[in-house]
Amino acid sequence: MTGLSSKAEDEFGRLLPADVTPSARLFFDQFQRAGLPGRRVESWHYSDLRTKLRAVPEMAHAPDDAARAVARHKLEASERLRLVTVDGFFAPDLSDDISAVAGIDISPVGEAEFFGGAADPMLDLNAAFSRGGFLLDIAVGARIDRVIEIVALTGAETDRSRFGRSLIRLGAGARAEILETRDEGFAGFGDSALFIALGEDAQLDYACRCRETAGVEVQTVNVMLAARATLRAVSLLAQTPFLRRQFFVSLAGEGAELKLAGAVILGRNDHADMTMVVHHNAPACVSREIFKYVLGDHANGVFQGKIVVPPHAQKTDGKMMCRALLLSDEAAMSAKPELEIFADDVACGHGAAVTKLDAQQLFYLETRGVPHIEAEKILIDAFAADVFDALESEVLRDLLRTDLSDLLGEEEPAS
């Protein structure tokens, strides 16, 4: 970009602490050179951060007692092994003592770890600012039979900028189920990063539910799969004022398998952008991306999916599908599925479709005595819920199903 930097970029520069490490400084410089992404950057065309983020809220600090009390208030009792972050900082005193569980280790994020990942200005910004994140290690061959839950909360009472950063690493042959609950409140700005690295033959079921996301929020998930590793990742997004959730996946080892799915349920003026770039970097990898959007009121849904297959990735099997259900004439959906294929022996495909509720199906349900609103909910639920089948974990599937029907129960679908 030319020398013209936006106000927000200068503000970020001002917020950068004086004692910033040299590598953080490098990431910041990289961010500043690229600039805050906006509509002129092709991959950010539908989520114009430049106009959205005009003022940068103050930095969030490591939580003090007051902040922890605010966060604790939001924690519900649970059977799950819980790791809590407050404004992006790992809070051991709010978390379960995980050191007692065999095969799991938790430690602070070291600076050198996983600073790779996709080239993305918001990931650079996260690398420049993030502190206090955690690294979750699941040992080689470990089978964790309890669900691990990462809960992202806020302790702030006012607008803050948050830069959570966590790493999940599964050793070869390890298996785990991880739930992420993001509930940091509507205030402020968020730019979080999650790194997932699966060793050979490892299997992870990962479900993320976004309950309240910041006024402007970017979530980046970086995934690296070794040979025959399997990641099943499902996101349930709702109540997102302005969210960009992006996945950068590398199927790095032969025979790795990815299932990436999501349900996006939006109303009001909500904006949610699910963007994913899936690199088939080894032969015989499988990827399935399936996303469903339910858009009411003035909601704005964005889907961008790209499957990249270099010449050596023969026997690639990649399929991508995005469907949107529009409940209102004012709601809008933009879908951009893309294939970049340079190998010849592949089976790849994509599709996108926009539909409305079927009047005949509604009528049929209503003639059985089901009131109109109720009938709509049944059909919306049926439309969206099957994306959860991407998960093998029944516990996680049921959790997301319940969350979805609670969501639909709460808010009258707008028509």
Partner: protein, 250 residues
């Protein structure tokens, strides 16, 4: 029980029901026979409350209550039921979930408590068995992948579970082989009795061998043109609809 008076209905600017008047008494089984396109399905949809029809004139009363402004669900709660000529497939909605939602919605509308799950399962299983509906069918999404006959049996299952006071059967016999027809007819006959009425719409007299009608009406070009006893159906079977067909003099 059901009184339709001077009903005029258009679809997409075209008149389909043209001053239809019909009365079905309490406990009665009335048949409507008529050529294709005479407006039989339209009539059943309008009575059930489908919104995309333009009702220009007329009234429909159920048990003396004008239902024209009521929603389909309200009509159902009043005891109205429609066996669809073409039952809808609803992918993603499990049959049991659907049945439960329907039964509980109607109970709720009548101020009754929700049916306990065990009791619900028991009722569904027992009724399904009588209609030769397998457990496997009950596990599938509503009507998805069902044959024509399976769909019709599923309609009768719903009818039997909801115990409506007034049922409209729109060509229940279409797409049914003789065994399935018998099974479905038994399901209907089991519900017959005081306080329940049926409007049996059919193109063929054959159905009335299994469900005997008290009265038979002939419908043509959107109105009832002739009424009589069961012998009227037999006469029609012999002579065909030529004299009532589209274009023929009324």
């Amino acid at each position: 029980m059901l009184e339709i008076d001077n009903l005029h209905v258009s679809v997409a600017g075209r008149k389909i029901l043209d001053g239809l008047t019909l009365k079905v008494e309490d406990g009665q089984v009335a048949a409507i026979m008529g050529p294709n396109g005479s407006g039989k399905s339209t009539l059943s949809y309008v009575v059930a409350g489908r919104a995309d029809y333009e009702v220009q004139d007329g009234t429909i009363r159920l048990d003396g209550v004008d239902i024209m402004e009521k929603s389909p669900a309200e009509r159902a709660a009043m005891g109205l039921f429609l066996v669809f000529q073409y039952p809808l497939e609803i992918p993603g909605v499990a049959t049991m979930t659907f049945l439960k939602a329907a039964m509980n919605a109607q109970r709720k509308a009548r101020g009754a408590a929700e049916l306990p799950t065990i009791e619900f399962m028991k009722q569904v299983r027992a009724t399904a068995a009588k209609l030769n509906i397998s457990q496997d069918m009950l596990k599938r999404p509503v009507n998805v992948g069902f044959s024509g006959g399976e769909k019709k049996r599923m309609e009768i299952l719903q009818m039997a579970l909801l115990e409506p006071r007034f049922s409209i059967l729109d060509e229940m016999d279409s797409g049914l082989d003789i065994d399935a027809l018998k099974t479905c007819a038994e399901g209907v006959n089991a519900l017959r009795g005081e306080g329940r009425s049926f409007l049996v719409i059919t193109h063929y007299q054959r159905l009335l061998n299994f469900i005997t009608a008290d009265v038979v009406h002939v419908m043509s070009r959107g109105r009832i043109v002739k009424s009589g006893g069961p012998e009227l159906a037999l006469a029609l079977e012999a002579s065909g609809y030529a004299e009532y067909a589209e274009g023929a003099a009324a």
